[in-house]
């Protein structure tokens, strides 16, 4: 038997939760540090997985399979390919940074906080490694519970509203998915994601296939979130505690996109291509998300809400890239060039999942950092901070530019790939989508850089808006939190192959099977 590395990555957080459970409540520093140290184990293991998968990212690695509910052939079944390995690394990295950052910023109910955060990490990692539909669904929903509590207990003013909205939206999507999962099982006789994909559920019955397709699609589109299912996101992201927002934007949204790639596209290629090309509902939703999300950002005065909406826009690129890959199947005459473009589009989508996680995770940390000082996120209260907090200014500039897709930073490549792939297959939507890039540049430069950092610092205005808060530059722990993210942004910006090699192998293999 192989070394169960994926089980360890998934369940060491559960062990962490148990350890936290047995540390007395008042030993808060113990809880904080022990948690942070434990979280390095899945991080290191994820690196090992990442390094191993590089050898052949197109196939499934580290497969584990145990019978779980034999009566209905549900298996405990895990495995990773290039896409999952990258997502696993992203999850572990952002989680470890969150545990570390929380050491200094979470002051009340520390024990519960770390307990829940560990459960959350288990749920997220589990989704990325599951190869069984029920197993996948279990992790998918388990992650919901701790996030609901994290928003509700440690969130901002409207936290209760945001928490329940988050929970109900996701639940509504996932119960529909449950019906579709059962349908797929009854049709194909297996819950195995790879086998079910090979069996093509409901092939030949377009109506049922479309029904199952939409049930899955809506569940994932709510999580992505794609317009018009996005309205939970601004509330949840704005009200969540800093690390909650980081994980929400950095990992949870990717669960939806991952589901589209791992389940919807391989299960229902015909239906997907129909709705991506013949009746292009999904690309329309994607470009609406991109453009509308970016436009709404320009109208925001709350910095955190602005970044929340920017996620709607940026995740639109992911959906668009996946659409391009799906649409390529509807075009007759599968030329080499078309296949390449489809792979490029899908590479762009998956790379965007990774880079958006790193960049937006970073942006939410940065918002948290300024909020800790000013206790406001109102853009009108700021101005001229560039001269007062130069280090913060510098980091924010790098992260912001990465977000708007400046060449040399991570965000550029993913957007480039998405548009390169889309333009060859569904050019109309590529052209509309590109407008989103312009608006992104506008809100980053105008709203964030100009309103926060440029101009003269007005002490009187600052004092009035923040009740005489002290404005200091980044502390060491804040710098330590941001460094790894900035390094990844620059590294991927200059040498995208570190990630793309894995993604490309996996996406090519995935498209080859369709």
């Amino acid at each position: 038997m192989n070394f169960p590395i994926l089980s360890l990555i998934t369940f060491i957080p559960l062990l962490g939760a148990l350890i936290v459970f047995f540390i007395p409540k008042d030993k808060e520093d113990w809880i904080r540090w022990v948690s942070t140290i434990i979280s390095f184990i899945p991080l290191i293991l994820s690196f090992i997985v990442y390094a191993a998968v590089r050898a052949d990212p197109g196939q499934m690695w580290f497969m584990e399979e145990y019978s779980w509910i034999p009566t209905i052939s549900v298996y405990y079944r895990m495995g990773v390919d290039g896409i999952s390995a990258v997502m696993l690394l992203l999850t572990a990295l952002l989680s470890t940074l969150s545990y570390f950052y929380s050491i200094y910023t979470i002051k009340n109910r520390v024990k519960e906080y770390y307990f829940l955060f560990f459960l959350l990490q288990m749920g997220m990692s589990g989704v990325f490694v599951s190869l069984d539909l029920i197993f996948f669904y279990v992790f998918w929903e388990i992650g919901l519970v701790p996030m609901y509590l994290l928003i509700g207990v440690w969130g901002g003013e409207r936290r209760i509203y945001a928490a329940i909205k988050f929970f109900l939206y996701t639940l509504a999507g996932s119960v529909a998915m449950l019906l579709a999962i059962i349908g797929v099982y009854l049709n194909t006789g297996t819950f195995n994601i790879l086998e079910a994909a090979a069996a093509q559920p409901f092939a030949g019955n377009f109506v049922l296939a479309a029904a199952a397709f939409w049930a899955f699609f809506i569940a994932f589109a709510i999580k992505v979130p794609s317009f018009p299912f996005h309205t939970w996101l601004p509330d949840a992201h704005t009200e969540a505690p800093t690390c909650g927002s980081v994980i929400l934007a950095g990992v949870l949204l990717k669960l939806g996109a991952y589901g589209l790639i791992r389940i919807v596209l391989p299960f229902f290629p015909q239906v997907f291509s129909y709705y991506a090309y013949t009746v292009p509902i999904i690309p329309i939703l994607a470009v609406i998300s991109i453009v509308y999300g970016a436009l709404v950002c320009m109208a925001q005065w709350d910095l955190k809400r602005l970044i929340a909406y920017s996620s709607v826009s940026h995740m639109g690129y992911v959906t668009l890239g996946i659409c391009a890959a799906a649409a390529s199947l509807a075009i007759s005459g599968h030329g080499e060039g078309l296949m390449t473009s489809a792979a490029i589009g899908l590479n762009g989508a998956t790379l965007q999942m990774f880079t958006h996680g790193i960049i937006t995770g970073g942006l939410f940390f940065l918002v948290g950092i300024i909020y800790e000082r000013a206790h406001t996120r109102d853009l009108k209260a700021f101005g001229g901070l560039g001269a007062k907090v130069p280090y913060y200014y510098g980091i924010m500039m790098v992260t912001g530019f990465a977000s708007l897709g400046l060449p040399g930073l991570a965000g550029f490549w993913s957007e480039f790939f998405v548009f390169r792939g889309t333009f060859a297959i569904i050019p109309v939507f590529a052209c509309i989508g590109v407008a989103g890039v312009v608006f992104t540049a506008a809100y980053i430069l105008w709203k964030i850089v100009q309103y926060v950092f440029l101009g003269e610092f007005d002490q009187a205005k600052w004092d009035e808006a923040t009740h005489h808060a002290k404005l200091t530059d980044m502390e060491l722990f804040e710098k330590v939190t941001m460094w790894p993210l900035v390094i990844v942004m620059v590294l991927v910006g200059f040498y995208p192959t570190v990630v793309v090699a894995l993604l490309n192998g996996a996406t090519t293999a995935l498209l080859g099977k369709l």
Partner: protein, 488 residues
């Protein structure tokens, strides 16, 4: 002899009840150990029932003149009934001690009610069905009104009794119609008599199905026969509420399965149409009305109405062609009932503990429970998520199997109504969590003490809720085994 051995669990329950009643009359001193006699009786009956399932080959044919079928299906409900009895007795020890000096009969009656559940589930003859049904009803009325000094308890009992008497009468009328049509009270003889005679007797059998459904619907609290339940649940002593929400409901479903599947298989189209409509109404009304409840007992009452609706999906989705599949509906009914039993009894154990400590049943008083008692809040979280149907808990497995059954027989509309309802239901369960976890405790609220007996109940129910959710296989096998020997 064989018969006697198979009847052992029921005899033990009966004997324990008689011993409790009898010893209470001896001497004037208060016997604190009497409840433990009752508890012991329930546990021994449970152990014997489990042993018999494992060790003895159960007969498929009814015995004792064709009145009682001690098949695997009946034994499944013996396990359910004895578990309910044991858990309810443990939860009521402290509660009843504070409220009334006359307690021995309470435990005796509980045992008799659970005996009635086992008889209902085993009844193979309409006369036996009616007798067992009435035994269950009458003991339930008395238990509901047990706190004589408490006006609400008495009111609840009267309401329950009036509705129950009507329902029994209607059911009896339905039975007499069925007898008129077939000249038999034996369930399988009825099926034989109706075989092939379908269309010509339909004018007689369909009304009888409707009338039977009045009685069964009353027991499982299905809309529109549910009106008694919120008042009875609110007024009854809380341990009795816990019992009512699980015990009679399980008995009602056992009856539905046995009577409709064994006696009326040829009229499946008729009762499926009727039950589908009832199922949709029950889910929707239960959940929508639960949204506005501020008393936790009433909220759980409406929630249990809604759950009856979900379980009905399983029964409706039964058909012969899929009986070999794991997603046959009756499997779903049984596994759902088992998961629901532990979850709901656990939730009521939390309510009992909270009521004992604070005297309140208002949901807003649960504010800050996480600070006041992490154990209560934590277990309640698991119970409420199980009721919602979140994976990792028993409630999810139950929902998986009833929804799966509906999809298998292509009752898509039913499945869609059910999932819409699951989302609506999440809202009011989360509302309780919101108070417990997100709201600060009221001023002056202190930490809550948890009695050792309630701790046991919570540990057992919470543990089993999670075990069913995480390792469902043994429970599924039990359910499949119970369906397998039903002889349909």
């Amino acid at each position: 002899m064989q018969t006697l051995i198979l009847l052992l669990p029921q005899l033990i329950l009966f004997l324990a009840a008689v011993v409790v009643f009898g010893l209470d009359l001896v001497g004037r001193d208060e016997k604190k150990w009497l409840p433990y006699v009752a508890l012991g009786g329930a546990i021994v009956a449970l152990v014997v029932a489990v042993y018999l399932i494992v060790a003895v080959e159960l007969p498929a044919e009814p015995m004792l003149g064709g009145t009682i079928a001690l098949d695997s299906f009946a034994f499944f409900f013996q396990i359910v009934a004895t578990l309910v009895a044991a858990l309810v007795i443990i939860s009521s020890l402290g509660y009843m001690r504070e409220r009334t000096p006359y307690r021995a009969e309470f435990y005796g009656l509980l045992l008799l009610a659970c005996l009635a559940i086992t008889l209902v589930a085993a009844a193979a003859d309409l006369i036996m069905v009616y007798v067992a049904f009435e035994l269950l009803s009458i003991t339930s009325y008395i238990l509901t009104g047990y706190l004589r000094e408490d006006r609400k308890s008495s009111e609840a009992a009267i309401k329950y009794f009036l509705y129950g008497a009507m329902a029994s009468a209607a059911m009896l009328y339905g039975m007499s119609l069925l007898y008129g049509a077939t000249a038999s009270t034996d369930l399988s003889a009825i099926a034989d008599a109706l075989l092939g005679a379908g269309a010509s007797l339909r004018w007689l059998v369909f009304p009888s199905i409707v009338l039977l459904m009045v009685g069964f619907g009353f027991k499982i609290a299905a809309v529109p026969f549910h009106q008694w339940s919120p008042d009875a649940y609110e007024g009854a002593p809380t341990p009795v509420t816990a019992f009512l929400s699980v015990g009679p409901k399980a008995a009602g479903f056992a009856l539905l399965v046995r009577v409709f599947l064994i006696a009326l298989p040829d009229f499946r189209a008729d009762w499926v149409a009727l039950l589908s409509a009832i199922s949709m109404m029950t889910m929707s009304l239960g959940n929508l009305v639960a949204l506005s409840q501020r008393n936790i007992k009433r909220m759980l009452a409406y929630s249990s109405i809604a759950h009856a609706g979900y379980i009905l999906i399983g029964l409706v989705s039964w058909d012969l062609w899929h009986s070999e599949s794991a997603f046959n509906g009756i499997n779903g009914v049984l596994i759902y009932l088992l998961a629901y039993l532990f979850t709901n009894l656990g939730a009521f154990a939390v309510v009992i503990a909270f009521e004992q400590a604070t005297g309140s049943n208002q949901i807003e008083d649960y504010a800050g429970l996480m600070q006041r008692s992490p154990a209560l809040a934590g277990t309640m979280l698991i119970f409420l998520f199980s009721l919602t149907g979140i994976p990792g808990t028993g409630g999810f497995i139950g929902k998986l199997f009833v929804f799966g059954a509906a999809i298998q027989v292509q009752f898509y509309a039913l499945a869609v109504v059910a999932i819409v309802n699951s989302v609506i239901a999440a809202f009011y369960y989360l509302n309780v969590l919101r108070y417990m976890f997100f709201q600060p405790a009221l001023e002056g609220a202190s930490a809550l003490k948890l009695s050792p007996t309630l701790t046991v109940t919570l540990a057992v129910t919470c543990g089993l809720t999670l075990v069913i959710g995480l390792y469902a296989q043994p429970f599924l096998r039990l359910a499949q085994f119970s369906v397998g020997l039903l002889g349909i």
